[in-house]
Structures are given as structure tokens and as C-alpha cells.
Point group: none
């Protein structure tokens, strides 16, 4: 038991330090699984979508554009994913805020998108990336995004 206690004691500082200076991140395997879920859900609903997954730095890990989607949705999905990871919150939060205050000051907030379909992805309370969906109505985009993040 003494040895056990000693081992725990010796390991503890290392683990503590790791927690202080280490953070989780999203792999391509994770991003592919999330994207597959988004694509499957879109097909089941009969929608065509652009699906974007970003890492915690706002860089694209995965993008796929289903056939027939308007090309404008590529930049929209990228912008939604960026907004979600830059502000650690769903783009719908900005959409609701603009409706609630009847105002538009959020328009002057750099990189903010106020249209549903962007969601941050967290692991153990730390942001590790985001998803951006565009192609159908914003509510439908949001439905696919939520379904996909649940698959992570």
C-alpha cells in the first residue's frame, strides 16, 4: 500500500501539470464520423448540404459538398463553423439575440454569423472545434448540425 501511495504521489504532479497545459483536440477520424452522421441525416430528410468541420483554431479539417447544393452554401457553412468556434456558442444565439433586441449591433461584431446552423464542439468543457451546415432552411441546417454533434 505504501508503494501504491508513493506511485500515486509521483504520478500526481505529472497529471496535474498535464491538465494545466494540455488540451484535447479533434482528429480527422472524429470529423469524418461527425460528417458521416450529418450526411446520413441530410439524405434521410431529403436535403442537400455543405458540411464543414473546424478545429479549435478555426481551421477546416473536413468539408464535403453534396451534389446539387447552391455554391453559396460553401462560404456560408464555413462562416457558420467559424462563428461557432470563434465565439464558443451556436450561431442561433446571435440570431435569437438580434430578434430579441430588435437591433442589429451584432452585425458589427467581426466573424459573427446570426443564422442557425453553426455549433461549437466541446470535450470535457474545452472547445475542440465546430460544425457548420448550410443548404436547406436555417432551421433544417440546425437540425442536421445538432444530430451530427450528438454523433461525436
Amino acid at each position: 500500500m505504501k508503494k501504491l501511495a508513493l506511485l500515486i504521489f509521483l504520478l500526481f504532479p505529472i497529471i496535474t501539470q498535464a491538465q494545466d497545459y494540455m488540451q484535447p483536440y479533434l482528429t480527422l477520424e472524429d470529423a469524418t464520423r461527425i460528417s458521416n452522421a450529418a450526411e446520413a441525416k441530410s439524405k434521410a430528410e431529403g436535403w442537400n448540404m455543405v458540411i464543414v468541420i473546424m478545429d479549435a483554431g478555426g481551421h477546416i479539417i473536413s468539408l464535403r459538398k453534396m451534389d446539387g447544393v447552391q455554391i453559396g452554401s460553401i462560404d456560408v457553412a464555413i462562416a457558420k463553423a467559424k462563428s461557432a468556434v470563434y465565439f464558443k456558442r451556436p450561431t442561433k444565439v446571435f440570431e435569437d439575440a438580434m430578434k430579441a433586441e430588435g437591433g442589429t449591433r451584432i452585425v458589427t461584431l467581426p466573424n459573427a454569423v446570426a443564422i442557425e446552423g453553426g455549433l461549437p464542439i466541446f470535450k470535457d468543457g474545452t472547445i475542440i472545434g465546430s460544425i457548420g451546415i448550410s443548404g436547406a432552411s436555417s432551421a433544417q441546417d440546425g437540425t442536421v448540425a445538432s444530430f451530427a454533434v450528438a454523433a461525436y
Copy 2:
């Protein structure tokens, strides 16, 4: 028989017209198959790559970033794919031209990238898209791009 001949006669102009105004295009299924080949080749060689597939309009259909690749390779792979489809030629053509003329005038050519790793994708003589690879040396990027396009 007369009726059959009449029908063919009536249909003929329509079919001719359709052939004149149709062009092949790259589907997400095609892009996924090409990307899978690129990723498989990269893994076999022990390289980490960003793989970008664009359509004939220079819009991203598929992007995947393998774990551990420098983030700068995302913009580089996008730029290579864009150069390849914008100019209907491999980015290596510009690289070779710059070396041959010992000059820099290509630097002023909008959207041109003079680094190997970008290839146009043709079908029946018509450009339908491109691939951009970045992550290893430019020669290795080019090897993966060629391997992947052969899988189309």
C-alpha cells in the same frame, strides 16, 4: 414505320441540342473516391496531407486534413487546386516555367501557384475539377496528386 421515322425526326433536334449544351461534372462520390486514393497513398508513404477537390467553378467539393499536418497546408492545398482548375494545367507547369525563364512574371498572374501538387481533372476533354495536395515536399505532393487523379 412512317410514324416511327416521324418520331425520330421530331426528337432529333432536341437530342442534338442537348448534346451541345451539356457538360460532365464531378460528383461528391467521385471526389470522395479520389480523396480516399490520395489518403491511402499518403498513409502508405508515411506522409500527412491536406487533400482538396474542387469542381469546374473552383469551388471546394471535398477537403480533408490528416492529423498533424501544418495548418498552412490548408490554404496551400486550396490555392493549388484553384490554380489547376483556373488555368486548366498542373501547377508544376508554372513552376517549370519560372525555373526555365529564371523570372518572376508569373508571380503577377492572379491565382497562379508555381508549386507542384495541383492537377486539373478532365473527362472526355472537358475540365470538371481539380485536386490540390499539400503537406510533404512539393514533389511528394505531386506524387499523391497524380496517384489520386488516376483513381478517378
Copy 3:
């Protein structure tokens, strides 16, 4: 006494001229003191902030991002500081104006940000720079900005 009067008379135009063509400016030492005050206030309140100090030309003298702040706050704090020094007024003035007129015309004003947290910094009536704060609610950002400028 006559000589003294003559000397003053001769020097006076020179001094006047010098006063006409000089302006105060913000040093890195000033910016560091203001940033330290902002960071101390943020920690005391339990908030994580991005703190930006600009000079009179709208160029960043100092930026610091506290751990854990959403990355979107970097661009937001820069934009607030820029708006404050470009228009010599707090960003809250634009926010209030948009609310008061229920309108959106300020959205079309280049470089204007209509969200509290940006303040100009004056010395003897001359603008010498600005501060931009982002990371918590806009009201909290404004609290930190005001506290910090008072430390100048």
C-alpha cells in the same frame, strides 16, 4: 531686465511654433500600465479578456489574450479599439445611437463597431490612442475598459 525681456521676446515665437506642431503620444510603458490595470480588474471580477491598446494612428501597441478567452475576441477587441480611435468616441455611443434610432445605417459606416468595450484615450484634449476589450458581456467589457483608462 531689458536683455531678459528681449531674450523672452526672441524665444517666444520659437516656443509657440513648437507648441503648434507637437502632439502627445502613448508610449509602450503607458500601454503596459493600462493593460496591467485591465488584466488586474478582469482577474478580480473572474473574467477572461483580450486587451488591445492602439496608438493615435490605429496601430496596435499592445495586445494580450488571457488564457481561455474565445479566439473571436481577438478580432473583436481589435475592432473596438480601432472604432474608438478612428471616431474619437466610445463604441457605446454607436450602440446607443443604433438603439435610439432603431436603425441600421451605422452598419454601413466603415470601421464603426456598435458594441460597448472600446474607448478613446485623450491627453490634454488630444486623442493619443484607444483601448478595446472583449471576452465577457459587452457591459463587462466596458467596465474593464473604463477602469483601465482611468489608470492612465
Copy 4:
């Protein structure tokens, strides 16, 4: 000893998983220590510098502009830091490559800067950020950058 072996066995998968999906990151405290070293070195040499520290995603954690530095050095230092973290290599590598090949193809590489003064920062083999220095000659910028990274 059996208990010890069991404990190690139980801990092993957790630690392995953590290594797979966890990565180190740069804190503001780290960035401040590195910046302080850069500023002290600059002062000792009689140089004025802009000092930029970025995180692994290419986002600014810390920026300070010493008094009297040309304003153009702000964007230069940011660009050098971005190049270093985007390509996981010193900007001098691009500078040397351009000299060696007598060519300019690197000019077409998005986000690449071919001027000494940008260095990546690694921890245990993983990139966690970068430094960008500008204000004196590029060789002097590089001297300060190297000195500062050694202080991490």
C-alpha cells in the same frame, strides 16, 4: 507488486488515450516570459522591435510595439509569426530556399514569409505557437527571436 502492476495496467490506457487526443498549448504567462526576454535582448542591443507571440492556431496571444519602431513592422512581425506556425519552420528556411534556388516560386505559397525573424515554438515535439520579430535588420530580428524562444 501485483497491485502496482495492476495500477500501471489500469492507468496505461488512460494515459495512452490522453497522449493520442491531448496536446500542449502556450499560456499567456509563457508568452509574457518569451516577450520579456525578447524586449530585454532588444534593449541590450539598442534595437527597437515589435514582438508577436501566436498560439498553435495562428492567433495572437501577445503583441508589444517598442517606442519608435516603424509602424510597418507590426504587420511584418504578425506575418512572420503566422508563417512560422503555419509551416512549422523558421521563416529563414524560406529565405534560404529562395536564395539557393535563385527562384521565386515560394512567393506564390500562401502565408509564407521569406525573411528571417519568425520561429515556431515546440513542446515535446508538438507545435504550440510561434514568435515574430521585426524592427531592425532581418538578421538582428532573427537574433532576438532565437534568444526569446530559448527563454521558453
